[in-house]
Each structure stands twice: as C-alpha cells, then as structure tokens.
Symmetry: C2
Subunit: 255 residues, 2 copies
DNA sequence: CAGTGGTCTAGACCACTGG
DNA sequence: CAGTGGTCTAGACCACTGC
C-alpha cells in the first residue's frame, strides 16, 4: 500500500497529509482511542487484525503500536495482547507525581492520606482561562486538597477543571473515591490525561497555605504548576501544587 | 545468526548473556563507543558495514542503532550517516539545563554570561564521595561559578569532579573555554556525560550564596542537585545549582 | 494447543546528501 | 551518481499466556 506524496499543495498551517504509512496508522489508531472505541484497560485488536483492517503488513502496524507504546498510550503484554493504558489498575499509583522520599524507598511511609479541603464552582480568572483554553468567566471547578505522608502534611494542591466535562463532580464524590484522581476522571468522566507540562519554582506560602501544610510562612516550598492534556492535546486540568521538600524531593531523570 | 538460549547457568549477579540479538549488538556498539573507537561528532560505520562486521542482517543493526539513538548516544542523519552524539557543536547549548525564561522565548535575553568564582582541589567530604563513588578524603576538584542572563545573576553552581580524570583542570582553562562545560569535559578530558539524575528542593541561601545571586537571604531558591554519568554509568560529576525563579522556571514535560 | 506479541531475515524501493 | 538512512513487505521462528 503506497500513499502518494501528494504533489497538490496543502492548506497552510495544516500537517501535510503525506507521512510514513506507520504514522498514518498510528493516528488512525489514536482516533479510535479518542473516540472511545476501546476503553482504558481493554485490549485493542491484535496486530494481525489491525493489519487486515488497514490493509498493511503486520510490521507496519507493529511500528505504529511501538510508537503509541513509547507515548505511554498503550501497553504491550507478550502472549496476551496490547491494552489501552489506564490510570486505574496501574501499579504506579501517581504517574505524574515525582515527589519521592529522600530515603529513596518508595512507599516508605505508606500511601498518601488524602483530605479534600474544598470543591466549588468559580468563574475562570484570566490566567486559569488561558491555561485551560477557555474564555475568562467560563465556569470552572476548583478543588483544594492536602496529601500527607505518615501524618505529615506534605502537598497542598489547587486544581481547576473546565466545568462542562466535569459537571457533577462534588466534594463528596472526590472524598469517597479510593484511588488516584486521574483514575476517577477516567472512569467517571471519560477524561484520560496522557501528558502534562510542569513549571517549577521556589516560593514562600501565604498564611492559609502555611497553615494547611503546618509550616512557618518563611519555609521555602516548591511550586509545581501543571497543565495536563488529553488524547486530543486539549488542556483539561490546571493544578498548582505546593510541595514540602524537607523530607522529600522532586526527582527528575535526564536522558 | 542465532545465539543459543544458553542452558548453561550464568554467574549470579551478572546479566544473563542471553538477550535478543539486537540488544547484544547494541552493547557491542556501546563498548566501541566507550573504548573511543569513534569520537563524539564522528560518524560510526554504516548499517551495512556493521551488519557485515557482526554477521547479522541490516534490520537487526538498525534496531540496535534505534535504541542507541533513543538514548541520545548517537544521532541519525538521513543521507549522511549516524554520528556519535556530542555536547560540542550541538545546537542545544545546555542539554541538561531546564531553567527557561517565563516568556517561553528561549534566548530572549541572549546567551548566559559565565563567571568562574573558584576552582580548587579538596578532599572529598563523605556525601560528595558517596555521590561520586569515591572514598571519603579522595581528592576532588571543586568549582563554583555564576551564570547571569541580561546582567541578572540567576544560577550559582557548585561542582565536584573526581580528581584523577580531571587532572590539570584549572580556573584559567575554565574561564577561557567558550562553550558548555560538558563540551570541555568531552574535548579536553575524554569524559562524555550521557545521563543525569536531579533532586530538586526549595531552599533559602546562606549569606555568601545570596550575595553572589544578589538576592535577600529570605528569597526562596531552587536547589538542583545533579549527578551526571558517563557511558559506563560511572558518576563523574556532582553539581549543586541554586536557581533564581523570579523570572525563570524549571520546565519539565511528563509523558 | 492456538493465539498473542517479539525477534530475525532478505529484499525492494524511497528520500536525502554530497560530489 | 553512489551511498546513506528510512519505509514497507512477507515469511519464518521464538517466547509467553491461557485454556
């Protein structure tokens, strides 16, 4: 199967429609993922089936799936199949959280103790609206919570979510949910976060923030501002975390 | 070419000698890189040549090189060849530095202005020795420098290097070097950093640190502690940076 | 045992680079 | 133009999973 190099001029600003076959297959599979043809945790069709569906060789499908697996959108399991990645049932509970104990032992003080402090509707301020690709004044949900480890409050998070996709999210549902928040978003609202960008700064807390983290106002904290994106690269969450780094640190590996 | 699954027991603690062919080829190429058979910036032999040398198909060599390219050890250039990655001549001047202007425009205030503050021999303290896999008291080189952008001192770095591989490194040579420090290490000392781990905290500076960065002692700063590794996964540099984050931030992308 | 993903091969052709 | 990496195919066989 050969797609022509398309001598016709493309509309400016658009990705040229010519690209290697395996990339085209990749985006076709991506479209099916976006459309929800296969749900997180479920298997996608076998390589042979997909090859038949798209009329290409198994090797080409394989390369497309390899690329999806490299993006963490899909998980390969030899002998079983290829599965849509999910925040639920994932052994790594918090895939985007990089704050680890100084000892290095993950889970050395067990799972996080979660406390929802607030959950309310707001009109988006200008900066929140910009981050979420909304208009200023659009309704957003704002959540504030604290994570503690071994009884020590360690993380204070403020979240902003677009009101429309998350209609019906309440403090009660959040408090009752046992797993990671992204698993709730995925299971209850069909919103799967696949990618995020973080901006990190050192800051001092204001009085309410210091109180919630049980530290002095002069204690330096990490400010971690995260924007998380879905399959279609739509920003769906703005999160600002304040991290205590007296017993933990933000760990980053540079390749 | 099929290597047997080796029914013979392996020495305990060693990686089993059986692994896919392309991984074996990858580590053979890696050995040649370590041995300096091809220097940074130079081309490695073509896929066809390597396939002939190792008596495997071109496809298998290709997969091995793909893995090396994914690790940033090698750079593919269509029509030209595959080249050993280098910190010199690399368009991204500082590959491991993730502090970017808030505006997002890289180079919005031009290149960093570098000032070497100190360069002296020391005996390694316990923590430095541990990070560099040395014994406490072994001689190390300690370097302190300041990076400024648009006249604003922004980064204060303390480096510790094992004395042996870096014998002959002086303040004068550092100050005279025009490019990134890792390029100097590579070109002048044959030490190529391929990977690093960073631990990030929020801290307050002490008086000398505050003075060098022209900030008050109550200004929160990012503390970025980096250990950098060579091909053979030997730690070869410990670096502690203090970053001002009033006009810049540490940017991290989570896949 | 059948079905899945994982490896390896051989060969054809394309796209890019430089002389 | 020859040489390089990049794509695509078809087929063989292996390793793992679950019935």
């Amino acid at each position: 199967m050969h797609l022509s190099s398309s001598t016709v001029a493309e509309a400016p600003g658009l990705t040229p429609s010519f690209s290697p076959l395996y990339q085209q297959i990749k985006s076709l599979i991506l479209q099916s993922l976006q459309a929800g043809e296969w749900k997180p945790g479920e298997p996608i069709p076998s390589e042979i089936e997909l090859a038949a569906r798209f009329r290409v060789s198994q090797g080409t499908v394989r390369k497309a799936i390899d690329a999806l697996a490299a993006d963490n959108l899909v998980v390969r399991r030899q002998g079983k199949g290829t599965f849509v990645a999910t925040h639920a049932e994932q052994h790594v509970q918090y895939r985007f959280l990089k704050l680890v104990p100084d000892s290095g032992d993950i889970d050395s003080d067990g799972p996080a103790e979660r406390t929802i402090v607030a959950c309310r509707q707001q009109h988006a301020a200008a900066d929140v609206a910009r981050s979420l690709a909304l208009r200023a004044g659009d309704t957003v949900l704002q959540v504030r919570r604290v994570l503690a480890y071994g009884g020590v409050p360690t993380i204070l998070e403020d979240l902003w979510l677009p009101g429309d996709p998350f209609k019906g999210l309440t403090l009660e549902r959040l408090a009752a949910w046992p797993g990671p928040m992204y698993a709730l978003f995925e299971t209850e609202f069909g919103v799967r976060m696949v990618r995020a960008e973080e901006k990190i700064r050192a800051v001092l807390p204001d009085a309410p923030e210091a109180a919630l983290l049980a530290v002095a106002c002069a204690t330096p904290l990490l400010s971690v501002e995260r924007v998380a994106y879905t399959y279609s690269d739509t920003p769906m969450e703005l999160r600002r975390g304040l991290y205590r780094t007296d017993r933990r640190h933000y760990r980053n590996d540079l390749g």
